[in-house]
Amino acid sequence: MTATTHPATAPTGTAASALRGNRRRRRARSVLVTCALTVAVAALFVLTMMVGSFRIGAGEVVASVLHLSDNPSVDFVVRGLRLPTAATALTVGLALGASGTIFQQLLRNPLASPDFVGITSGAGFAAVTGIVLLQAGGLVVSGLALGGAVVAGLLMYVLAWRDGVTGYRFILIGIGASVFFDGLVGYVLSRARLFEARQAMHWLTGSVGQASGDELRLLCAALLVLLPVAVLLQRPLRALELGDDAARTLGTRPDLSRAGLLATAVVLVALAVAVAGPIVFVALVAGPIANRLLGPATGGIVPAALVGAALLLTADLVAVHLMPTPLPTGVVTGAVGAPYLLWLLATTNRQGAGG
């Protein structure tokens, strides 16, 4: 700093080539990571459908999924039994990864995953109420979960609103709301009969194996619309990350962009929870893992979504095939995610920064 180059005499050629090199490296890394993640997700997707009590080769799986072969027994196992679970893991993972990283970047805090800011809990409360009080099942429970998540998201936005939404207030209110909803879930469960309580607990653990075809189709359609929207909104998000003043100076309308981003993220996580139940920690870790791969503060929504899908596919493989008895996916993600959360809390405090 003391040996400062005087502004007027700094050599222009160096700056230009240094900047060009920097951009090229960042772009190459981003392309490489995105491609590698895509390949990994595709491989895991196929692998999920290969293993099980009836082993099938990769070629047969691909041929069956793409309707290129006609082998009734393979088709039954692949398309009938394994494809729905694999597709659920894939789409729910994509939705959770994208949603989580949007929340974290928007609120500038690695703890600001939808798991913790009350949205997942809102969905859980609505779903459990439906299961216990209305003896609901299937699509009704998903619809209730979707509604609960959206209402919780709106509630959070209204409560946290004061001259715009700021990160810390949103997180603190979210944690409060989360605890509130969890308390209500506990109350409802304590009033439930054994069968319904068991149903509700199973739903609350989160599993990619419980989705119905209709729910899955809804999530696929939503992803086809919302992922491109999220990619478009990445642009204002990059400005918003610098603070509201800087974002406005750069020519964005912070409140409008934030509302759009929050709405996208809430709907994504709401659909994911509606389809698979509250699968914890995927949304929390996907963004930071993607950032670790891409380089800091790159905040790619697509890579984060891919990481989410890879994580959930892996968790499902572990839960169903590596455990002595098949477990709900949420148990595995929780077991892996909890140590990460502890590490995150420990390092966040040490740096004295919220993110």
Binding site: M1, A15, R23, R108, L242, G243, T249, G251, P296, A297
Partner: protein, 257 residues
């Protein structure tokens, strides 16, 4: 004709009015310092000029048009601001941050162009931050960090640049270095600069025009030599002092008694 001015500008937060009915004219191609005691409304005025605070009454005009009626993206191509406490995303590198200054010049689908590249190169050059481009912001010293933020504002390529207390948290060496940088930018490109400063001596030394504020009103305006006197310092800061010529530049220098 002046490009940026305010008429009858009233600004405030919640139910509190901070500045009322101000007329301000920013001189084109000059460096203007807004000075005053703490909480006199100088940062509020700057935020009002930069459309970060909506006008309660009156209006800010940019190139003859009311800023409130302009698209914020269009204003961003002409008017830049370095906020008092900008936020850097965790781990972001200098190159990434400075490049984000190009935001208003890029469309939803437009990719990085040679113009963007040149603007960022010039900004890095002008602020002497080229050597830092691969470094994360959090690893930099306060002075380096402030130059990087200035570089981001420069990459925006605006004719007018507002800076909100850019020298706070910097030691005297880096304060002077930053103000020299602003002088150089002004001399080389004729950029109009408005800067909120705490240090009256530095304002006199490095700025062409001074706006002195007290209790949300402008109490004096003009060149440092015309404006800064013992009476003014008493009135604005409540400090008894002598004003003597700066031994190096001859500009007014405040010496407390």
């Amino acid at each position: 004709m002046t490009r940026l001015r305010a008429e009858g500008l009233t600004l405030g937060y919640d139910d509190r009015t901070v500045v009322a009915n101000l007329d301000v004219t920013v001189l084109d191609g000059r460096i203007t310092a807004i000075v005053g005691a703490n909480a006199c409304g100088k940062s509020t005025l700057l935020r009002g000029l930069a459309r970060l605070l909506p006008a309660r009454d009156g209006a800010v005009y940019l190139d003859g048009r009311a800023v409130a009626d302009m698209r914020t993206a269009d204003v961003a191509k002409v008017l830049g601001l370095l906020p008092q406490t900008p936020v850097a995303p965790d781990g972001i590198t200098v190159a990434d941050l400075v490049s984000r200054g190009r935001y208003p010049h890029q469309g939803w689908f437009r990719r990085w162009t040679d113009r963007d590249h040149d603007a960022v190169t010039r900004a890095l050059d002008a602020t002497g931050t080229t050597d830092l481009i691969d470094r994360p912001i959090r690893d930099l010293s306060g002075g380096q960090r402030q130059r990087v933020w200035v570089a981001m504002a420069l990459a925006q390529e605006t004719d007018l640049l507002l800076l909100d207390e850019p020298t706070t948290y910097l030691d005297i060496n880096h304060q002077v270095e930053l103000l020299r940088l602003l002088r150089t930018l002004n001399a080389q490109s004729g950029k109009t600069i408005v800067v909120v400063l705490h240090d009256l001596n530095l304002a006199c030394r490095f700025c062409d025009h001074i706006i002195a504020m007290s209790d949300g009103a402008i109490v004096a305006e003009g060149t440092p030599a015309d404006v800064v006197s013992a009476e003014l310092v008493q009135k604005v800061f409540g400090l008894d002092c002598l004003v003597v010529p700066d031994p190096v530049a001859g500009t007014p220098m405040v010496v407390p008694v």
